[in-house]
């Protein structure tokens, strides 16, 4: 660390090098948690969304039930059920799962993944349903099989329609991840709460962390705008 920054930090009561490192640790946890749950949630959501558009009630019914439950209840309750509930499962403490779920990170990751997968499923479903029927008819006329049609025609065009709603979901997830701090995880909010209670300085601790979240949010908004431009480049006006 350059000397002048160390100097600056030493003269500050609250934002010393050690608290800055605490915030940094929290940032790493938050980013890991959000990134992993979004990736896993997206991977789960694509097949679920395809199932959700099926006309067979035995296939789309369970998926509808899952998304309805997870979208209809608060994430905090889901987190509590998974965090406190996993430990209560008979015999789990003797299996290797216990080594994983003993730490707060994995129950939180599981809760966030299931929650974001439910929302993402509905976003993708909406995008799939909105595929112009002409595109599907054309694909059929070319003799494409169901799988090829899905991969080449429906999913790419659904991605274009869904990206805007999905970017909202990503930001929602980043903000929702703040509740990980209630199950003893030291994420960004957890770090801020520790620092608040150490110095009894609510404004410094929470406004600083709010700025960090804001920076992350705007980074995501910027990233998604770039992605949207890329996906929708065929719609850009020719002149200009």
């Amino acid at each position: 660390m350059p000397d002048f920054i160390a100097e600056l930090l030493n003269r500050n009561d609250i934002f010393t090098a050690s608290t800055i490192m605490e915030y940094w640790g929290g940032m790493v946890t938050t980013v890991q948690l959000v990134f992993l749950s979004l990736i896993l949630g997206l991977v789960l959501a694509v097949p679920l969304a395809i199932m959700r558009t099926s006309k067979n009630p035995l296939i789309n019914g369970p998926v509808w039930f899952y998304t309805y439950i997870f979208r209809g209840t608060p994430l905090l309750i889901q987190l509590y059920i998974i965090y406190y509930g996993l430990a209560q499962i008979e015999g789990i403490q003797q299996t290797f799962w216990w080594d994983i779920f003993r730490e707060a990170f994995y129950p939180a990751l599981l809760a966030f993944t299931l929650n974001t997968a439910a929302y993402t499923t509905e976003i993708i479903r909406g995008a799939i349903v909105a595929t112009p029927s002409g595109e599907i008819e054309a694909a059929k006329a070319y003799g494409m099989s169901w799988a090829l049609r899905m991969r080449r025609i429906i999913l790419p065009s659904a991605a274009r329609r869904g990206v805007q709603a999905y970017s909202n979901e990503v930001i929602f997830m980043l903000h929702a991840s703040a509740i990980a701090s209630v199950v003893t995880l030291v994420d960004l909010t957890g770090a801020a709460r520790n620092i608040y209670s150490r110095f009894y300085a609510p404004f410094d601790a929470f406004i600083f962390v709010a700025l960090l979240y804001m920076a992350l949010t705007f980074l995501l908004v910027f990233g998604f705008r770039k992605l949207e431009n890329y996906l929708l480049q065929h719609q850009r006006p020719v002149s200009g």
Binding site: I69, L76, Q78, A178, V182
Partner: protein, 234 residues
């Protein structure tokens, strides 16, 4: 019926707290949303700037962080104010900043920003000819708003209001973190004491689910009513 181990009445009280909190926050959010939307659509640059800063700030910060800031910061601010009043005017003024007030303020403020966006879109959806006609009839600005603009914008705003309400309802669970004894808090304490997490959290989840499901039906009914007389394209 499920055996709630004597926590039943406490859970009921908690549910009432949750519902009160949700409705008060909604009222605040609608007021702030209307003010925000009018500010955004006004010609004053200051008003536009203030409203845009407000909605941007709110969208950048997690609800929980905002709530913690309001709750803990609110108490410190009240303490400072009471110290100052005592020193300067020897007025003895103090009140405990309670989590319910902090909850209503935070949730109202957050959803006020989302409502502002919803209302802005709905305002713009009202044909300008309607407003011009009202002006031509000599309606005052307030009368134009409440007789012409508001009934017509409601139709466009309802789906957005409905979505915001659903999210708001679920956000109320967060107040349990700052110590308000809503139903989540009661369930958490009961689950810890009795070591039965499923037993207490699942009924609470079910209450939330029925609240969101019930609201969905109610909003559908409202939307249908608001759209009476609108010819839908087939």
């Amino acid at each position: 019926m499920i055996d709630l181990k004597g926590y039943g009445p406490a859970l009921m009280d908690g549910a009432v707290v949750t519902i009160e909190l949700a409705f008060l926050s909604l009222a605040l959010a609608v007021i702030l949303g209307l003010i925000g939307a009018s500010a955004k659509l006004s010609k004053s640059r200051v008003a536009i700037g203030v409203a845009t800063t407000y909605t941007t700030l709110i969208r950048g910060v997690p609800d929980l962080v905002m709530m913690l800031l309001f709750y803990y910061g609110g108490q410190v601010a009240v303490n400072n104010l009471s110290d100052y009043l005592y020193d300067a005017y020897s007025v003895d003024f103090f009140f405990q900043f309670d989590p319910f007030i902090a909850g209503v303020l935070t949730i109202g403020l957050i959803f006020g920003a989302y409502m502002a966006e919803t209302f802005r879109g709905a305002f713009l959806a009202v044909e300008s000819g309607q407003i011009e006609a009202a002006r031509a009839y000599g309606f005052t600005q307030w009368r134009t708003f409440h007789r012409i603009i508001f009934p017509q914008m409601l139709r466009h705003a309802l789906p957005g209001i409905g979505n915001n309400w659903q999210v708001l309802l679920k956000t109320t669970a967060l107040v349990s973190i700052i110590g308000l004894t809503d139903m989540v808090r009661v369930a958490e304490e009961a689950a810890k004491a009795e070591r039965m997490p499923f037993h207490f959290f699942i009924p609470v989840a079910f209450v939330y689910l029925s609240l969101t499901a019930g609201s969905e039906l109610f909003i559908k009914w409202l939307t249908k009513r608001a759209n009476v007389g609108v010819v839908q394209g087939s």
